[in-house]
């Protein structure tokens, strides 16, 4: 049933060629080794915006040593997103795309090598293209386990280049806001993960991102995963703080911002091969505008429920989310919903 719906949605979003590829992958999926999955998703909000996605995800594992201590893995992801704004004409969409619809294609390729179980090195490359805005990212990273594999430290570096058309707007002080057509950003993340107790896993990360249109942004995050033995369930929590304040020029459309993000989730094994996740996410953003120094507060609440069922070498996934914002600067409140379905093969 889910596979059929998934294929129908892929056919609608990507056309017959991709749907045929999808069918072929379903048939050949059980013949090789590793994981192949196909997902579809739909987003709708109360402002008439829709977004549909079809995504293919291929993970291939290659074990080099008999003990399985040295191995490499490859991950290829391809997705297509269709955005549409119905009802009123969107000025940006009309000016840049000449339509209320745009189609964004994305591909990414990542490779990771594990050395003697303890050390991992990884590289990745990604590209997105909607025929007007193009973005390319390359990244590399490494991590290592210490102390009987109880403390893992990691370092990741990535660089993104984006090309986009110039779209100028008039600010409150009559200055013209003109974002640069070439956006470049470089990011570094230093992270640590440790097994704090026999049932607790902690993680920490600090990220620094430099871009050519805004002040540097720093993010500090911490997370905890707690296994609850009597109920065979788990609680996951995370808290992050991002600060993007400094000198704001007319290269950027919004002012100084900082944000809090908190997330908590309860995970439970329901029956054999069935797992569920019930989550809540809180986001708060404080902005000081460039021209008038006005203070704005944006906030959102997200509720989500997902289920995954293993059936032999297959995994079926379904998920639903609801998203609500506070009143935004233009007086609107966003209420949005997402539904997703997917099927994966372990082969």
């Amino acid at each position: 049933m889910t596979a059929s719906l998934s294929l129908q949605a892929a056919l609608k979003i990507c056309g017959p060629r991709i749907a045929c590829l999808s069918s072929l992958l379903f048939i050949t999926g059980t013949l090789g080794a590793s994981t192949l999955s196909q997902e579809v998703g739909a987003y709708r909000d109360n402002q008439g915006t829709s977004r549909d996605r079809a995504k293919f995800d291929l993970n291939y594992q290659l074990v080099h040593s008999r003990a399985g201590l040295t191995a490499s893995s490859y991950n290829f992801v391809a997705s297509r997103d269709i955005y549409e704004k119905s009802g009123t004409d969107d000025e940006y969409m009309q000016d840049v795309y000449g339509s209320n619809q745009r189609i964004n294609d994305a591909v990414s390729l990542a490779a990771a090598q594990t050395w003697q179980k303890l050390t991992e090195t990884r590289v990745m490359a990604a590209e997105t293209n909607d025929q007007v805005v193009k973005s390319r990212t390359v990244g590399l990273g490494a991590s290592h386990w210490f102390w009987n594999e109880t403390l893992q430290t990691s370092l990741d570096i990535s660089r993104t280049q984006m090309q986009r058309p110039v779209f100028e707007i008039l600010d409150e002080d009559s200055d013209i806001i003109s974002p640069p057509p070439r956006l470049q950003s470089t990011g570094v993340t230093v992270g640590a993960k440790n097994l704090a107790t026999t049932t607790t896993l902690m993680s920490y990360a600090v990220t620094h991102v430099e871009t050519n249109d805004r002040p540097p942004a720093n993010t500090y995050s911490a997370g905890v995963r707690q296994f609850i033995v009597p109920t065979r369930s788990a609680v996951h929590g995370s808290l992050a703080r991002a600060v993007n304040r400094g000198r704001i020029t007319t290269k950027t459309a919004y002012g100084e911002v900082d944000a809090w993000l908190a997330e908590v989730a309860y995970l439970q094994t329901l029956w054999r091969g069935a797992r569920s996740r019930l989550g809540y996410r809180y986001y708060r953003e404080d902005e000081t505008s460039r021209a008038s120094k006005n203070e704005y507060v944006r906030g959102s609440d997200t509720y989500s429920l997902s289920l995954a069922q293993e059936l032999g070498d297959k995994v079926i996934e379904v998920a639903a989310s609801r998203y609500f914002t506070n009143e935004l600067e233009d007086g609107t409140r966003i209420a949005a919903g997402i539904v997703e379905a997917g099927i994966g093969f372990n082969f």
């Binding site: 987003y43 995504k55 704090a196 997200t302």
Partner: protein, 77 residues
Amino acid sequence: MRHWRKLLLIIATWASTYACAHVKPYEKEYLLNPLMDDGTLRSLTSDFGAVSFGAFERLSSNTLGASAATSCPTCGG
């Protein structure tokens, strides 16, 4: 960042990493449970929501979400 916050961060980090010495390799049964595993989490969470909702959140897709969900600091929506 104020000094007390730095101190708190150092103490919390030290306390949690100190406990590492007490988790032996044969005591990782619960930590290896699928509910604690990144692979399981990937099948129960999706970047579609983060990217879609990120359109209304200036820092979630560029930095906050990236650092929490992926190792690529500049991979946003």
